[in-house]
Amino acid sequence: PCPLLCEAAHCTSGVFVLQIQSCKRERDIHLLELLRRTALHGESNSVLLVGPRGAGKTMLLKSVLKELLKEKDVNKTLMQVHLNGLLQTDDKIALKEITRQLHLENVVGDKVFGSFAENLAFLLEALKKGDRSSSRPVLFLLDEFDLFVHHKNQTLLYNLFDVSQSAQAPIAVVGLTCRLDVLELLEKRVKSRFSHRQIHLLSGATFPDYVQRVQSKLWLPEQFPDQRFAHEWNNSVKVGLRVTVAKPCIKPADVLEASRVCFADAKANMLHGLSILELCLIIAMKHLNDVYEGEPFNLQMVHNEFKKFLQRKSSTIYHFEPAVVMKAFEHLQQLELIRPLDSPGARTQREFQLMRLLLDTSQIMEALQKYPQCPTDVKQWAMSAFA
């Protein structure tokens, strides 16, 4: 039964397929119509799909494409170019990818010849030569559209939208993004060539809806081989987060455990593992922040603060050489719990370089409570209002 279980638990955005199928059917149809017009009637279009992560943008696009390719005419003539903002981080790379996917003549095997300007000119030439009746429609799918906006001069976007506005080869540009303000990022000339058509996908689901959907997703179908197991499983499904071979039934305790793992404060966990000296340095930094209201500090100030604490205690347990304190300080810097204000190339000595603490007072106090075998005087020092 394992493979089926794993499959069922694996689709993350599959939960929202139900949403798309149930009440947002008109969006589906709208996009389908748009793309069909490009594919069959030679009309150029551009559209943006905007929605938070996991809202179902890729799912929507996939289902629309599947629907579209069912028609024989479309299947024969439509060309698709898939680009992803995470992979094609530069216009040069993006252009090479487009040329490769369209199998233009300057591609031999996998290698694309020519410089950026040449490739661009070639591509535009190829697209310009056609018109509505004689050239094949091209569908450009840009995933992570907001990353293309950061390329230099937005050349690629400008050219694609330009071609979509002029009477050249019919193309459709579909962008997927998670930023609502993506239009603000476009340059004026690019924005004016865009058709300002946006489809928003918002998951307006409440918690009971969410529970119901996850339940229906994890529900085992009737064709499941082991009926008794399926029955037991269905009974114990509430909201499942961790399913393993060893624990075939989900219980509420597992859910709580899993949620504790997911929501644990990462920085507090790291503070738990510091040595006493490093913890004392952090407390000294907290006191400096309290007294001087968040102004940056350097190692000398922190060490001075620590020495003031030691003066009040008669025990000599914590008297360390300055170099040992420096090593502890550098370890904290490596863990990125403190960060220098300016770049490390600046010509100040290490002891005097100004730093900021990247922890909150509440995080420090919480970590202190959980710290194993924390000496009482250290704890009291931390709690005291004044150094």
Binding site: N269, M270, I276, R347
Partner: protein, 440 residues
């Protein structure tokens, strides 16, 4: 002691082997085993924890024992992203695939070649890419395999190991959130347990345990890094056993052994722990007699160079110029300065003590003025004095604070510590503390 790992999906024998190799890490190992099923695994996992908390070791052991297709890359070793891609392709698909990478490959090229190779040789099991020692700065410069890769490709799982928390790695617009796993630090008891495993065969286990106990007593409050502690334990064990070998004590004389080793460990903290002295030097020192050993010449000892007479005074003048505010020069260096009123305004706030803020830049003229007043004989400002200033800059005892182009008004900063300058002043019989504003 460790309980056996129970997992019905895996071979008993393999589990037992894993449990042996991973002491004190059962909880994490179990979690990982449950995630890495025979079929598809979670696309991105982020494991964070302190140094030497067993992250790479655990993953390595699990991958090896279960024979899962994986590749380990280290972000610290792979200076450029091309090396990273090459390693991944080499491990999964062989040298031919790695040769297909163009020069200066981008992530796009890598994904394309990876997809081609995958379609040529599809795998039933998930492939794992383990990226160790990830640094957040490198990720923001797009120099590594991030969870975005798992977003783009399926049937591959990316495991990131790092000391730094995930919040620093997350890109601005978000990405596929990996599963976060924390490898908690070892407690004192667990450290004792693990360190006692490397016991010397000729001595008993309790003897070694007591040694580890003493070592942890000295170093635990400063360092909890397993690797460092193991190194220190290995270096100092022979000294610990010395009384036994010389016949002065028996294994059960804990107090005598403690008295023998404790000052030695304290010395180690000042030297070997700080890497002032190399392990080789340390071992040699232990062999020599105590009287011969004398002072350990650490790395910082080499900065105490012997300076010529006037250079010392120049350095003292520079220190005074750096750490005294300019308005107080009159008080210190002019013979008849009259009465100087000490108003509330002049009373210094502790925060602005210059010894906490650092040295301030000063113009050359000021330093020379102080120099002439501090040196007891009349010194003509000749080229030899000026050349000594340049050599102080070369020795990095002074830093140039102005740009190279400014020839007429160069500014300097003094870069030596208080202890250093006190030592130098003592050699010329100059009481520097009297002249420092902060110690008035």
């Amino acid at each position: 002691m460790t309980g056996p790992l129970q997992h019905p999906g895996y071979d008993e024998e393999k589990l037992r082997k894993i449990a042996e190799l991973l002491p004190c890490r059962e909880v994490q190992a179990e979690l990982l085993l449950s995630l890495m099923g025979q079929h598809r695994s979670y696309p991105a996992i982020f494991i964070y924890g302190h140094r030497a908390s067993g992250k790479s070791h655990t993953i390595n052991m699990i991958m090896k024992e279960l024979e899962l297709p994986h590749v380990m890359v280290s972000c610290v070793e792979c200076l450029s992203v091309a090396l990273l891609f090459e390693q991944v392709l080499l491990s999964f698909f062989g040298a031919d695939a790695a040769a297909l990478l163009p020069r200066g490959p981008s992530l796009s090229d890598f994904v394309r070649i990876y997809r081609q190779q995958c379609s040529d040789s599809p795998a039933k099991q998930t492939r794992y890419i383990v990226s160790a020692k990830c640094l957040s700065a490198a990720f923001s410069a797009n120099n590594g395999i991030s969870p975005c890769f798992a977003q783009v490709e399926d049937n591959v799982s990316v495991i990131l190991l790092s000391e730094i928390v995930w919040d620093k790695f997350r890109p601005n617009t978000g990405c596929f959130e990996p599963l976060l796993l924390h490898f908690s630090d070892y407690s004192k008891g667990e450290l004792q347990q693990i360190l006692s495993k490397d016991r010397h065969p000729s001595y008993s286990a309790e003897f070694y345990s007591s040694y580890i106990n003493i070592l942890l007593g000295v170093f635990y409050s400063v360092c909890r890094d397993l690797r460092e502690l193991r190194h220190l334990a290995a270096l100092n064990f022979s000294k610990f056993c010395e009384p036994l070998e010389e016949g002065k004590a028996k294994e059960s004389d804990t107090h005598k052994l403690w008295r023998n080793i404790e000052p030695h460990l304290k010395k180690a903290m000042r030297t070997v722990y700080l890497r002032e002295v190399s392990s080789l030097q340390w071992e040699k020192m232990q062999e020599m007699e105590e009287k011969e050993a004398g002072a350990v010449r650490g790395l910082s000892a080499h900065t105490h160079v012997e300076l010529p007479y006037y250079s010392k005074f120049l350095l003292i003048a520079a220190y005074l110029a750096s750490y005294n505010p300019a308005r107080t020069d009159k008080r210190f260096f002019v013979k008849h300065h009259g009465k100087i009123k000490k108003t509330n305004f002049l009373k210094k706030n502790e925060k602005t003590s210059n010894h906490l803020l650092g040295p301030k830049p000063f113009p050359l003229d000021r330093m020379l003025a102080i120099f002439h007043s501090v040196v007891d004989s009349r010194v003509a400002p000749s080229a030899s004095i000026f050349s000594q200033i340049s050599s102080l800059v070369t020795l990095q005892l002074l830093n140039q604070a102005s740009h190279d182009d400014q020839l007429d008004a160069p500014k300097y900063k003094c870069a030596v510590s208080m202890d250093f300058i006190c030592a130098i002043s003592r050699t010329v019989n100059f009481d520097i503390v009297k002249y420092l504003y902060d110690f008035l």
